[in-house]
């Protein structure tokens, strides 16, 4: 991230801030989608994060910490969005697109779908730690800093996430192929 651009934004340069937001959008969206697994929710969360960045940027003391700071803002919003997410409606469009875009490494679309369903059974805390660790390849210390918890807590949370994922995969493999789908209910 361009440190000078962040510094200009923290000093009230609205042009620099908008450029910064445009640059940050893809990163934030990827993380949000990784956690929420829904394009609309991810876009909503990203826009809320952008708004929070715009509102609080002048409070950022150290420009070099912008990326971690903005990640934390986004994660807080993702937690809130996930709580509002009562039930899952499969995002079939994105799954189909993904399967067309990249050759399947796991043998079939069904495997992806199983992984998707299993992943969605995880708590948002478990999804978050998996996204930070596996998708963004963050070191444990950086995950801990981003989540605001001790490194040991990250280790145990990751371990529980793996166990929960295994359990969800096993349960899914025993379930009928076509699971009943509930309509999403938003308050």
């Amino acid at each position: 991230m361009d440190r000078d651009l962040v510094a200009q934004a923290t000093n009230g340069d609205q042009g620099a801030l908008e450029s910064l937001l445009v640059m940050s959008h893809p990163r934030l969206y990827r993380v949000a989608y990784g956690i929420l697994r829904d394009r609309q929710l991810a876009e909503d969360a990203t826009q809320r994060a952008l708004l929070d960045i715009w509102r609080d940027i002048r409070r950022l003391r150290e420009p070099s910490k912008f990326e971690g700071w903005s990640n934390r803002l986004l994660l807080r919003i993702c937690y809130e969005e996930a709580k509002r997410q009562r039930a899952w409606v499969p995002d079939l469009a994105s799954q189909a697109f993904a399967s067309l875009r990249a050759p399947d490494q796991y043998g079939s679309v069904l495997d992806r779908d199983q992984l998707e369903r299993a992943f969605r059974h995880l708590s948002v805390e478990h999804r978050t730690v998996l996204v930070l660790r596996c998708m963004l390849d963050m070191p444990m210390e950086q995950v801990a800093e981003t989540l605001g918890v001790a490194p040991g807590t990250v280790g145990s949370r990751l371990s529980r996430a793996i166990s929960a994922l295994r359990a969800a995969l096993e349960a899914d493999s025993r379930a009928p192929l076509v699971a009943p789908v509930r309509q999403e209910v938003t308050p």
């Binding site: 445009v22 952008l50 708004l51 509102r55 934390r72 803002l73 937690y79």
Partner: protein, 277 residues
């Protein structure tokens, strides 16, 4: 499949399952459209933000929200000259004025004709008791300069800030409290426990204050907090001051709040600060 293999496959799936995000510029534009209802936060207490510019008008302040003219039935053309405002009728204004005048008059009549100085022998060049008399004061302070915190670190549950020196100038209704002000402030800002450590459950602010003018000096302490429920993170602070030099024998308590600038109000009184507080 062991844990590392599973994590590797999950990571590959997460990265691979990612598709092109929506248009970033369009998304930022939509987010920026929502900034009309949000104020940008500044860094916190106790200083006003220099160079803050007025934001765009609210949605309901634009011309399209003006009332439409209603066609007149007598053939005249109706003209909307501006937004309607609630106005006080002359009768009501007179009535309210009379009440205010009566209360003020009663209060004046209740005052003793002479208020002897409480501190014996407090005569000054300006006249008996003139410097030591109690008085309500109001005014404002204007930012001059500040230093960085000498210590700023994060502990497990708070942001620790120490030793910033701020210079301001006080313009008060009573000249005894006007002058150059030096505030040394400290803060403990407590994280709210959310994943974002930059969010605070609240904070406590404290420090020392010194006001100097040609006649004397006031020294004292400050304690306050930031009201983060407001968009600008407004601070509220109490100052307790003891006079010296020409203000020997006087104390003052000042309450500071943000109201379009930093506003001070309080009292100067003879004697010591209250005990057991």
């Amino acid at each position: 499949m062991n844990d590392d293999q599973l994590l590797g496959e999950v990571g590959a799936w997460l990265r691979d399952g990612d598709f092109e995000p929506p248009d970033a510029r369009a998304s930022v534009r939509r987010a920026m459209a929502r900034t009309l209802q949000v104020r940008q936060r500044s860094r916190w207490w106790p200083l006003p933000v220099l160079g803050r510019v007025a934001g765009p008008p609210r949605m309901d302040q634009t011309a399209e929200f003006e009332p439409d003219p209603i066609s007149a039935t007598n053939g005249h053309t109706a003209i909307v000259t501006g937004r309607t405002r609630i106005m006080l009728s002359p009768a009501k204004a007179s009535f309210v004025g009379a009440i205010v005048f009566a209360i003020g008059g009663a209060w004046l009549m209740a005052q003793p004709l002479q208020q002897p100085s409480i501190v014996p022998g407090a005569a000054t060049e300006a006249g008996e008791g003139s410097v030591l008399k109690p008085a309500l004061v109001t005014g404002r302070r204007v930012f001059v300069s500040e230093t960085s915190f000498t210590e700023e670190r994060e502990s497990a549950d708070s942001l620790v800030q120490r030793g910033r020196i701020t210079e301001v100038r006080a313009f008060m209704s009573d000249e005894r409290l006007s002058g150059n002000v030096v505030i040394t402030d400290n803060a403990d800002r407590f994280f709210d426990g959310s994943p974002s450590p930059e969010r605070y459950a609240g904070d406590v602010l404290w420090g020392t204050i010194e006001i100097t003018n040609d006649s004397g000096t006031w020294t004292g302490t400050a304690v306050g907090t930031t009201d983060d429920t407001t968009a600008s993170g407004a601070g509220v602070t109490y100052y307790e001051l003891v006079g010296s030099g020409g203000y020997e024998g006087l104390s003052a308590v000042i309450f500071e709040r943000e109201a379009g600038g930093w506003v001070w109000s309080g009292v100067i009184f003879p004697g010591d600060l209250p005990p057991d507080r």
